[in-house]
């Protein structure tokens, strides 16, 4: 059996002497999964993402990414924030190639990858636009293209579509899955939307708060590729209802 891509064992996280954010977390995530993390606020779902990304140190326990410490595995990961975090003084093209530039990749190679990425996210028509000229959805596409430019094994997404309107949000979800058909990556996706989690994921981990811990680990078995029609199926609706019920159980305030 192949070892899991991300192996989390007895992980605990607290900031300084503050409250325990995550307690005794155990998770094995095999390669190729699309994992959504949902739960009430304060359950530590974003913190977990930051721990995997090594943007924050763990307090105790172990976390291995592809057999390495998160810090050493950073090159295999990319992070997408809720805001597009584009550099406003750079054009679409120059934003996408930022990670390549930091790696000191040759200009010709950079341009080639960048053109491919623009095509992948459907931004071929605006290579020289500045971020201020783009809509929220387009900015997020640039952010995705930038994250994928170094072909990461793992994509970490912290509520990336949270600031978008619902239509755009659904479209972006569909596009993200379409991109994943071409460029395989394992995804960790933090969201507040059950429907979004069910649509995207092969697995949903429902976290409970105070302290953050795994409440339930749910497998979503709709086959990929999924499309807009998937959302309309009765099966899908039932699944969303089931997961919502689980989420309400851990979040009694909102029952």
């Amino acid at each position: 059996m192949t070892p899991p891509l991300v192996k989390i064992a007895a992980l605990t996280k607290r900031y300084g002497q503050g409250a325990v954010i995550l307690q005794d977390l155990n998770l094995d995530i095999p390669k190729g999964e699309f994992v959504s993390l949902i739960g009430p606020s304060g359950c530590g779902k974003s913190t977990l993402l930051k721990l995997i990304a090594s943007l924050s140190p763990l307090t105790s326990g172990s976390l291995l990414v592809d057999g390495m410490t998160p810090e050493n595995a950073r090159e295999e990961m990319a992070f997408i924030f809720q805001e597009a975090t584009l550099l406003p003084w750079r054009t679409v093209t120059r934003n996408i190639e930022l990670p390549l530039e930091v790696q000191k990749m040759a200009t010709a190679k950079r341009a080639e990858i960048c053109a491919r990425m623009r095509k992948l996210v459907g931004l071929d028509h605006v290579p020289n636009h500045y971020p201020r000229q783009l809509s929220g959805g387009m900015k997020m596409r640039v952010s995705i293209a930038r994250a994928l430019s170094l072909s990461p094994k793992i994509l970490l997404l912290d509520e990336p579509f949270g600031a978008l309107d619902e239509m755009t949000r659904d479209r972006m979800g569909e596009e993200l899955l379409a991109i994943r058909q071409q460029q395989k990556f394992t995804a960790f996706f933090v969201t507040h939307s059950v429907a979004e989690a069910v649509f995207l994921s092969s697995r949903i981990i429902v976290l409970a708060a105070n302290p953050g811990r795994v409440h339930q680990d749910i497998t979503i078995s709709f086959p990929y590729p999924r499309s807009a029609e998937t959302r309309e199926s009765a099966e899908f609706q039932r699944c969303v209802a089931d997961v919502t019920r689980v989420l309400r159980a851990v979040n009694p305030d909102h029952a």
Binding site: A53, F81, T85, L87, W89, Q103, R132
Partner: protein, 261 residues
């Protein structure tokens, strides 16, 4: 119509002021010593044109040197302070002290150290221009969004790349704001410096020096003409800085680019 309004409304204001000037002077019988007529000032400016031109150049040179020095040292200083919070805490109070002490107190001390002349005037201008540049640029360098910094960590950028590719461009509009403030006071620095450290070595002094000379000679219309020259020089200075600001930010910054989707 509204396109031309911004041109001829100020001209109209100017005409009203001139009219009031001439009218009040005649009505109240104010003498040329208290308030010279505009005509007298123009005549004085023409009569003294060689001296005024030369001294304007001298003051502009000193103001430019001090201003550029302040920009260079200001950026380097703010990079040092942005690099380390401890260094910032250690240095900032002293930069504030430098700013809070009136330049009129530093100036004579500088003349004792450097002697009268261009170097002293340049340093006086530098002292006036330095603070807005260093304060604004430091603010820009340290106010980068936390997620942006995390992004740079995720793509394994080193410290130099973080400064060059993220912090410096982010600080550019802040730096330019400091530069605009400094540009508007650089001429004041040049003239103040001239008061204390100006001399007529090389045949001619700066505008501040000419103020002292004309005042002593009771050439009051020429004194007014000197003020007019200082004003024009100040406008040239600010126009260049605003032009630079526009040119550097024209493509991406919201302060320049209005919504044009």
């Amino acid at each position: 119509m509204s396109k031309y309004l911004k041109w001829y409304l100020p001209v109209l204001t100017g005409a009203v002021i001139l009219l009031l000037w001439v009218g009040l002077k005649a009505a109240l019988g104010i003498g040329n010593f208290i308030l010279p007529s505009p005509l007298k000032i123009v005549q004085a400016a023409i009569a003294e044109r060689h001296l005024l031109w030369q001294s304007s150049l001298v003051t502009l040179t000193a103001a430019t040197l001090g201003f550029v020095l302040a920009a260079v040292v200001g950026v380097l200083g703010s990079m040092v302070m942005a690099l380390s919070g401890n260094l910032r805490l250690s240095l900032y109070p002293y930069i504030l002290i430098l700013q809070m002490t009136p330049i009129g107190i530093f100036a004579p001390i500088l003349v004792i150290w450097l002697g009268p002349g261009l170097p002293a005037i340049t340093v006086i201008t530098f002292l006036i221009c330095f603070f807005p540049i260093v304060a604004n640029t430091t603010q820009g360098l340290i106010s980068v969004d936390k997620n942006m910094v995390d992004l740079f960590r995720m793509i394994n950028a080193d410290r130099v790349q973080e400064v060059v590719l993220l912090r410096l461009p982010h600080a550019l509009p802040y730096f330019l704001t400091g530069l605009r403030i400094a540009g508007s006071i650089a001429m004041i620095g040049g003239i103040t410096g001239d008061f204390f450290a100006g001399n007529s070595d090389g045949g001619v002094g700066g505008l501040g020096y000419m103020v002292l000379v004309y005042n002593a000679q009771l050439k009051i219309p020429a004194l007014w003409a000197t003020g007019f020259c200082a004003c024009v020089c100040g406008f040239i200075f600010v126009t260049i800085v605003i032009g630079l600001n526009w040119w550097l930010l024209r493509k991406w910054h919201d302060s320049i680019v209005k919504a044009d989707l």
